[in-house]
Assembly symmetry: C2
Amino acid sequence: MNNPITKDYAHFEDLEIGQTIDLGATTLTKEMIITFATEFDPFPFHIDEKAAKASLLGGIAASGWQTGAIALKKLLENFPKKLASAGGLGFTNLKWKRPVMANDTIGGTVTIANKRRTKSRPQWGIVTLEFDITNQKSQTVMTMSLENLVDVRNPEITDEGSPK
Amino acid sequence: MNNPITKDYAHFEDLEIGQTIDLGATTLTKEMIITFATEFDPFPFHIDEKAAKASLLGGIAASGWQTGAIALKKLLENFPKKLASAGGLGFTNLKWKRPVMANDTIGGTVTIANKRRTKSRPQWGIVTLEFDITNQKSQTVMTMSLENLVDVRNPEITDEGSPK
């Protein structure tokens, strides 16, 4: 436990399996794609319009890392309350299924797929968040499954998602 | 095939299983951590020094996404040639094992763990890159396994990593 225990925060107990968060819509401009990729993922098909046009995709495509970072940002913006997160543990799976091209609009949902507590860390629960990121044609462009530690409000109570 | 076939580029045939790339050293300043996390991962323990000091970690910790992005950037910088990449497919696994705190220096290695070709996409091979990211105490902070499409220089030749 670290985040304030107030009604502004969603703690482990407040999260419901099956709950879905809509991520709204984000249009990736050519400039956004080039700026991000120049710093982190400087392949020609992300940053060089001429090379990108000559490539199989026929134009500038976003770094998959940018798609992931935007999904994370939009999740935090659209979460009904502040998430009492204690940090991420990792991904069990991340797939880039289709390219995101300049001027594509991405959105999608995050679903709380699972929540569980552990004996070794009674103060935190592990929440599995499944991301389904789509483009303006409702085609899935990225999926990932993120495991995140979330503060438990009442660690002594073990009846909900009790330690195993 | 998309990238130029010149000696400046590493194509599928040039990559050797077991080959290791050293990522050099990158020190994450407080400013770098706050700038990145403010945009993409604005939790208090990433961006608010006072809140971070009061937290379990006792100070500003980097977003795990930033650690990943830096690892990718350093791989591209340190690869012996330009990688004839045709894009990433995804991660089979990503784990944040320890926090990266302000002023920590991260580095580590990327190992070419596997390479294979497929019948359905003779022009590209799938290369598995295993990242082992460490801090200045040689403790692992992040591991991930990335699958990437790499251009095949001679798709008609199937004797090396031949299509199955």
